[in-house]
């Protein structure tokens, strides 16, 4: 493999604590190495006057699978003026909020992202998810199977059977080639099977007679029993409703007393995703307000939590979630087309287009809350930037979110020109926040932080020798005074150079290689558990519509280049 030395850039690497020092990054055999280890023939990349960071890590996005594709199928209008023609090795692309798989891979890479996690995989559809992942070039991807409404999980946890839950999780991760334990509206989505919901953590799930609180606690326990790389990753109950922050605080409180047990350097036991949607106060849309301060006070003081923001980008987008009842609620609010798919024994999903208009007060407050959360975070290693793509906005808007976070001028300009500026300003503390996220903090919030939370800290998110050579170089000179905040957005939209596992994949914003994409999954070994194996057999015989032998995602077509993180829980 080619050797590279990226010379004289301003390096930002939280893993090594480098805060913008001018230094070199050397690449050999797909890994970062010490400068002394490469030969004289190494290709020199001149990064003078540029910013150098590790490849960014996306912790939560909906980029592959049945609901994403349902969005593509039912929204031809999303393609209008967004198609890109075949160009060199770049396949043709289409779509804005739900880009085609090829475009998804290219766009991430061009922004300097090299790893991304698909946030909700319905286990029965794992093959579909993996087929799309295979067709998403360049970036390493993993997918989180959903567990929060799974019949096995609810039946085991009702009887406090943590060991059985863990054995089932291990089996399902292997069958679906999944990466982590995802929970979406615990219990509520099963209730949606009957058109109902669980809006608080104590609402019992119909028939199963278990509460969301019990599901969440049980899954944290099972997750730590196994010692998985990532923690339980949750989208709490009651998303998106005025006053929902109370449910969120109740949910966060469930993690109290749990400590992370794993060999991957992860410290949290719960990751709360798209916190913006869960930080609402007020009783109705009229007195809707931000409760970001209350939420962040809690998160800041509890080290066993990580979170991502879910920033609203003020675009037309497509919402999609395994929170089936929420999407039904949303179509009632905006009267746009509603798609839903309930999945036997496991989960559901809904899709509704949404227009975050800057002229609508609630949308503008949602925008404020997303930024507030990030600006109120005391530990950038535990608060990550996402747009919950495509729910709060397309991932391609990350550079714009960075701009708002890094420049008070840019965000004040936006805030003060909203149609309902007075009401919006009054509903959150954003206008009083003068913090500007630094490049070092940005590297924490988009690289080192998410990598650590995912248990990938020894692999990616940093530039320490021995780590994968995922490197992004941006045309951004931190030494020069910032003339115009737009420069932030421009620089982070198109990286000057991107390396993925040591392969140069982007040069001056163009794709030059489709790299060596991998599918990340977690292979957890547990003690033989005949009871769980019997339960699985029985459920397939009686209740699934496919046979057990036809369930597993297996083989080259689905996972051409797997990378398994191994966990051994046989000695627990």
């Amino acid at each position: 493999m080619a050797e590279y030395i990226i010379k004289n850039g301003f390096v930002f690497d939280p893993v090594q604590g480098i805060k913008g020092d001018k230094s070199d990054v050397a690449i050999k055999d797909g890994k970062i190495v010490k400068d002394s280890e490469i030969s004289k023939s190494a290709k020199v990349i001149d990064a003078a006057g540029k910013t150098v960071m590790a490849g960014a890590v996306e912790i939560h996005a909906h980029i592959a699978g049945p609901k994403v594709n349902l969005g593509r199928i039912y929204r031809p209008e999303d393609k209008l003026f967004t198609c890109t023609a075949t160009k060199g090795m770049e396949r043709t692309g289409s779509g804005n909020s739900i880009p085609s798989t090829f475009k998804t891979g290219y766009e991430y890479a061009k922004m300097g992202y090299t790893t991304a996690m698909e946030a909700a995989m319905p286990p029965l559809f794992s093959r579909h998810v993996h087929e799309e992942i295979r067709d998403t070039p360049i970036i390493d991807e993993g997918a989180f199977p959903v567990f929060g409404n799974n019949w096995f999980v609810m039946e085991y946890l009702k009887n406090n059977e943590v060991e059985n839950t863990a054995a089932y999780i291990a089996w399902l991760l292997r069958a679906t080639k999944g990466y982590a334990v995802k929970v979406v509206n615990p219990g509520g989505t099963e209730a949606w099977g009957w058109g109902l919901n669980c809006l608080s953590i104590h609402d019992p799930v119909p028939y199963f007679d278990i509460t969301p609180a019990e599901i969440v606690k049980g899954l944290i326990e099972a997750n730590e029993y196994l010692g998985l790389p990532h923690s339980m990753h949750i989208h709490p109950n009651n998303l998106g409703n005025p006053g929902c922050y109370q449910t969120t605080l109740d949910t966060l409180n469930l993690a109290d007393g749990f400590k992370a047990k794993n060999k991957f350097g992860r410290e949290q036991v719960m990751h709360i995703t798209h916190m913006q949607f869960h930080s609402y106060g007020g009783e109705n849309w009229g007195n809707f307000e931000s409760k970001a301060t209350e939420i962040m006070n809690y998160v800041n003081s509890h080290k066993n939590l990580t979170m991502d923001t879910g920033n609203v980008t003020l675009d037309e987008t497509t919402t999609m979630t395994a929170d089936g009842p929420f999407e039904h609620h949303l179509t009632g609010l905006n009267h746009l087309k509603w798609a839903n798919c309930d999945v036997e024994l496991e989960t559901a999903a809904g899709v509704v287009p949404y227009i975050y208009s800057p002229d609508i007060k609630v949308c503008a407050i949602q925008w404020s809350i997303g930024l507030e959360l990030a600006l109120l975070a005391k530990d950038p290693m535990r608060c990550f930037i996402t747009t919950d793509h495509p729910n709060a906005g397309p991932f391609t808007r990350y550079p714009r979110v960075f701009k708002w976070l890094m420049s008070q001028k840019a965000r004040d300009e936006r805030l003060n020109t909203f149609k309902n500026a007075d009401k919006v300003i009054g509903a959150s503390t954003l206008s009083s926040l003068d913090r500007e996220i630094t490049l070092y903090e940005l590297a924490q919030m988009t690289r080192a932080g998410p990598a650590k939370s995912l248990g990938l800290v020894s692999m990616c998110g940093g530039l320490k020798p021995g780590m994968d050579a995922d490197v992004a170089v941006y045309d951004f000179n931190p030494d020069k005074p910032l003339a115009n905040p737009e420069m932030i957005e421009t620089a982070f939209s198109r990286a000057a150079y991107v390396f993925k596992s040591g392969v140069q994949v982007v040069t001056h914003g163009d794709i030059v290689s489709t790299g060596n994409k991998r599918t990340l999954w977690v292979d957890a070994k547990v003690k033989d558990n005949p009871q769980v194996m019997r339960d699985i057999r029985e459920k397939f015989l009686k209740y699934y519509s496919v046979t057990q032998a036809n369930y597993e995602a297996l083989g080259h077509h689905f996972i051409p280049n797997p990378y398994a993180l191994e966990v051994d829980a046989t000695q627990v």
Binding site: A64, P66, V68, N69, R72, I73, Y74, P76, D78, K79, C83, T84, A85, T86, M89, R91, T92, G93, S94, G95, S100, T101, F102, L124, F125, R127, H128, E131, E132, D135, W151, W192, G193, W194, G195, Y207, T331, K337, W338, A339, N340, C341, D342, V343, E344, L345, A348, V351, V352, K542, Y543, Y544, S545, V546, T547, A549, N550, L554, H557, F558
Partner: protein, 438 residues
């Protein structure tokens, strides 16, 4: 002695049964019998064993006779035809696996082709309606475990999807439906007294072509508003009775077929059927699902959508995807005479398209990839027989509820025969050379 292959997936209809058992000879070369399948599915496996099967590509000669050629020559012909054409059509895809579809799309992109699947003459109208109004649906296991109200509208699963009712919709005893068919109400809407209609608790014999009116009347009935005495041939009382059955159930579903998608009203019928479903979710839980025909037409729509953004009738002539059914759909392209090469795989337009469109296939350079001799292969210049997907090679397929199931290989194809994917890979490599793509 014989061997039995279990958990075999049936590559015939969109029901995609995956519990077949096939007994094969000890050497694994010959299929002896097929268990659990319906008559159509069993025949698909058994007739692959025909001794007089075509096993090599055939090129039609000027005098109408056929000359056997090698796969290499066939791949050369196909690649030259596609690479040289101004506006080639690549149609079909519904009876092959996703691997082959994916490979075909790569070729289509390089050749700036129009790519279309059988939805264009089937559930394409459904897709247009979904683009208008959305789709509340579920997987078939949800129907098995929860549904107590089943509506078959303009479809006849007794004959078209023979195991649908026993596996998913009427007879199975699921988790919350322990009494099987006794716990389910069956309403059939069909102008004909079909075998499915004969089983129904209530058969609404709608006047042909007035499905929209009846669907609309249901929406009125749900709201207890005024109705005329008779709508679409159905007395008001019966409409109200049916509407009450739908509202009273705990979990209901509408399955619909070509009787509503391709009769008068087309996509508007489906718009209204989906609106009915949406309305019902205000009272109870309701879903709706198209009864997809070919075993992998759903998969073709999925692969097209994640690669190009649209589920059918994709036009790549400008180097990026465009979609405008009626303009970019196969029959329209053919009857307007815009196509200068036709490539057909995994379907039989010769048997199903209007004669004016079929004549166009016969007129231009054309390749038909199909294990059988069909009306399409008959009018094509080149016929490339291939292994049967799901019998002689595996590969992924999507059931009518979008659940992906990996088909199984049961026996080897006749010696020297290629699969769709293998043949398309040869074509892809040749097109790359012809186009000078790295």
């Amino acid at each position: 002695m014989t061997k039995t292959v279990t958990d075999v997936v049936c590559p015939f209809c969109g029901t995609l049964c995956d519990d077949l058992e096939v007994s094969v000879t000890d050497d694994g070369k010959q299929i002896l019998d097929v268990y659990n399948a319906c008559a159509i599915g069993a025949e698909k496996f058994l007739h692959s064993q025909a001794k007089d099967r075509i096993t090599r590509p055939r090129l039609q000669q000027p005098d109408g006779t056929w000359k056997e050629i090698s796969y290499e020559e066939a791949a050369d012909y196909t690649a030259k035809m596609l690479a040289g054409a101004k506006k080639p059509l690549m149609y079909g895809w519904s009876s092959t696996n996703c691997e082959a579809q994916s490979m075909g799309h790569e070729i289509a992109e390089m050749c700036c082709a129009c790519v279309d699947n059988t939805a264009a003459v089937c559930h394409g109208t459904t897709l247009i309606a979904v683009q208008d109004i959305g789709l509340p649906t579920c997987t078939l296991g949800e129907v098995k475990n929860r549904a107590d109200t089943i509506i078959f509208w303009g479809c006849n699963p007794c004959h078209a999807h023979p195991r649908h009712m026993s596996r998913y919709s009427i007879f199975p005893r699921g988790f919350f439906t322990g009494k099987g068919h006794k716990s389910r109400k069956l309403v059939v809407v069909d102008p004909r007294v079909t075998d499915t209609a004969k089983m129904a608790d209530m058969h609404l014999q709608v006047t042909q072509g007035q499905d929209y009116e009846l669907l609309n009347a249901f929406r009125v009935a749900f709201r207890n508003e005024w109705l005329p005495d008779v709508v679409a041939g159905i007395p008001k009382e019966k409409i109200i009775e049916a509407a009450n059955i739908m509202k009273a159930g705990r979990f209901g579903i509408i399955f619909f077929g070509m009787g509503v998608t391709q009769s008068l009203g087309k996509n508007h019928n489906i718009d209204e059927a989906i609106a009915v479903t949406k309305d019902l979710n205000e009272y109870t839980k309701f879903s709706i699902m198209p009864m997809r025909g070919h075993y992998n037409v759903t998969g073709s729509g999925e692969v097209l959508a994640w690669q190009f953004g649209y589920p059918y009738s994709v036009d790549l002539t400008r180097g990026f995807p465009r979609y405008n059914p009626g303009d970019t759909s196969s029959i329209d392209l053919l009857t307007r005479g815009e196509i200068d090469a036709a490539f057909v795989i995994g379907s039989d337009p010769g048997a199903h398209f209007p004669i004016s469109a079929v004549k166009q296939i016969a007129k231009v350079n054309s390749v038909c990839i199909d294990p059988h001799i069909t009306p399409t292969s008959g009018v094509s210049k080149l016929h490339v027989p291939v292994a049967f997907v799901g019998v002689e090679t595996g590969g992924n397929a999507y059931r009518m509820d979008n659940v992906p199931i990996d088909c199984r290989k049961v026996v080897d194809p006749p010696a020297g025969m290629l699969t769709d994917e293998e043949f398309l890979t040869m074509v892809r490599d040749r097109v790359k050379k012809l186009k000078g793509v790295a």
